[in-house]
Symmetry: C2
Subunit: 182 residues, 2 copies
């Protein structure tokens, strides 16, 4: 798998690593040939929000790669030192400059191929004035029929939007969705 | 924060790293002094299950550090190449040798201090015969009044069990709980 074997050298001492199965383990791990320390590689988390204003949702047009120029919900990598909710709030501020009230965790989407879990919280917009940061070309509201389905940046964004509009159409509660993105 | 600044050398080329804020960023990252590559450190995921058999839940007595000899729900680090549900199932097999039907995602618990998110799925035990692996001294069923509250290995285990018994007592649906463990 392309995600593994990313380490060539030991982050502790700089010596070359070898991928070996440690004695008490069943998977190959980056193991230092000098200091014997073992370095693990694990999936990471992307956190974001689905900000709603009446019958409209907020999307941001990406000003960065990957997917420059495509539309996304505000989201990014969870950082050390913050909760998933704090990360989702921070990304919404950084990418859209949007004022929100964070609501429930709405989607937990496994994207195994890239070693990520994407978590989207629902959010209530407190204003329709935005101030997108340097990672966004634009931040604007879309009604369902206006969503640029062919210009969405990520499959997890499509999945989250589809489920949201379906729940709304069916008058369902906005409860947690879990899904795997193949 | 003790979780950051774990890299001393570049995992790509082995040269020393320095912690610097990259041009397009707002946090210090491990940046190679030779090849200039940037290495990120992010929270990781622990996945597990809350396996139920009638009015009893399954706990495992840890045979490894940390928390040797204390009781835990079956759980462990999510690996690359698997979904959170697959990881939870794998850990339940490895630590308890339990046959389960996996149910809904029940708890998402941020443990910021150690840079982890713990996710517990509810599970229906299909048998009360267990076959704990080398990471467990014992796997057994507990009724609520038998839970060894003072000998639980992790606060997320306590939190998950407390919420489960409370939901059951109140006849509530077992919907998602999100919480932060301080």
């Amino acid at each position: 798998m392309f995600l593994t074997r990313r380490f060539k050298h030991c982050p502790s001492c700089g010596s070359p690593v070898e991928y070996r199965v440690p004695a008490d383990d069943n998977r190959e791990r980056a193991t230092c040939t000098a200091c014997a320390s073992v370095h693990y590689e694990n999936p990471i988390n992307v956190v974001g929000t689905l900000p709603v204003w009446g019958d409209q949702v907020l999307l941001c047009k990406r000003a960065i790669e990957p997917r420059y120029g495509l539309w996304t919900l505000p989201a990014g990598f969870l950082e050390l030192g913050e909760t998933s909710a704090e990360g989702a709030r921070r990304e919404t501020d950084e990418e859209a400059g949007a004022q929100i009230e964070l609501q429930n965790l709405y989607c937990v989407l496994n994207v195994v191929k890239v070693g990520q879990i994407h978590m989207y919280y629902r959010a209530r917009l407190l204003s329709d004035r935005f101030d997108p940061g340097p990672e966004s070309l634009e931040a604007r509201l879309f009604r369902e029929h206006e969503i640029p389905w062919d210009e969405l940046a990520f499959r997890t964004v499509r999945e989250t939007l589809q489920r949201f509009f379906e729940d709304r159409r069916l008058g369902r509660e906005y409860l947690l969705h879990c899904a795997d993105i193949g």
